[in-house]
């Protein structure tokens, strides 16, 4: 028997959030955490969480499992359960809409700030803007981000200043466009990042690296941005 402790909060009926303990027979199988949630939802349909692709591509079921952020759909019980107990909480630091569903507005706002699209002021070529294989290689480890928010909501600097610090996810994307040979707005982008909060709130805690379900390294990207700012500023 697995004891699942779920964070429950329905703002329409509950005065405050509480933890609900449910016993579940997994039949000895090493299920994914999302499967466990589906089984629980079959018993109690009021449990709310986000999900879509169920294979770690859409990034919608980011949550805190036994204290660590991750995607429920690709986290097997064997990886997270200790002493037969699974504690499920919403991603930390964001307002809870209901149960495991959080309001990601501020996270997307930070993403929007870095202008996550190509800016190029030269006339568009007839077919496409070309890159050498080496230039393309620079985007590896950056473009794969699925915006699940596991990293930013594990980052203490983002908890303290979610409105000012862009956070690991947004900064990884900022670097993705700074590193793109087809983007011509590098200087403008850097000018936007040179304040004491946007980038420099990163204190190198590396929680972001520890939790990213895609194995990406936002800390390294932030280091590259810092280097670019240093080159530009000295």
């Amino acid at each position: 028997m697995l004891t699942v402790s779920i964070y429950r909060y329905n703002p329409e009926t509950d005065a405050e959030p509480y933890m609900q303990d449910v016993q579940l027979d997994t039949g000895g199988k090493d299920l994914m955490v999302l499967d466990v949630l589906e089984l629980l939802k079959a018993k109690d349909e009021t449990i709310a969480y986000r999900r879509s692709c169920r294979e770690g591509v859409c990034g919608s079921d980011g949550m805190n499992m036994n204290g660590k952020n991750g995607l429920a759909c690709i986290t097997p019980l064997s990886e997270t359960v200790k002493n037969n107990k699974l504690v499920l909480r919403p991603l930390p630091g964001l307002p809870v809409v209901r149960d495991l569903v959080v309001d990601m507005a501020i996270f997307y706002k930070q993403y929007e700030k870095v202008k996550p699209y190509l800016l190029n002021d030269s006339p568009a070529p007839a077919i496409e803007r070309l890159q050498t294989p080496e230039e393309r290689e620079k985007l590896d480890g950056l473009y794969e981000c699925i915006l699940c928010a596991c990293c930013s909501t594990a980052c203490p600097s983002f908890w303290w200043n979610p409105d000012k610090f862009i956070g690991p996810s947004g900064l990884l994307q900022a670097y993705r466009f700074l590193a793109d040979s087809r983007d011509t707005a590098t200087q403008e982008r850097l000018a936007e990042l040179d304040d004491p909060f946007s980038v420099f709130r990163c204190r190198g805690i590396m929680n972001c690296v520890a939790v990213c379900p895609k194995g990406l390294n936002p800390t390294r990207a932030i280091g590259h941005i810092r280097e670019m700012l240093l080159h530009r500023g000295t």
Partner: protein, 122 residues
């Protein structure tokens, strides 16, 4: 771009550089003093004042003092903007943060002038 007028250099990059450079200077100064004390196990007033009569030692000390002040300002400013925010203190956050920052700045100024007086006063 997030603006802030109370940070040390107004730019994240300059604060970051100041923090690193001042840390290196403070580390060198500390190492020097540790080394000096190891060389003089039974240190007396004469040796200590002899050391500080030397102009290069005074300059090094003043540099370390400036570094300490800058390092502390950046550090305290960071801590106050991390923890004394509306998220933790509600609507009084700005007033509290500003007062704490002012108090720290005044204390740092006093230490600076006091330190210069110790080094170059009579």
């Amino acid at each position: 771009m997030v603006t802030n007028v109370t940070s040390f250099g107004r730019s994240g990059l300059s604060d970051w550089v100041v923090q690193r450079v001042s840390a290196v200077i403070l580390a060198l100064y500390t190492l020097f003093l540790v080394f000096w004390f190891a060389q003089h196990p039974q240190v007396q007033y004469e040796q200590w004042s002899e050391l500080f009569k030397c102009t290069s030692m005074r300059i090094f000390s003043l540099l370390a003092l400036f570094s300490l002040i800058a390092h502390a300002w950046v550090g305290v400013w960071t801590i106050t903007t991390d923890y004394l925010t509306p998220l933790s203190l509600g609507k009084y956050a700005t007033a509290v943060r500003f007062l704490v920052q002012c108090a720290c700045t005044i204390a740092l100024f006093v230490y600076l002038v006091w330190g210069i007086d110790i080094l170059w006063g009579n």
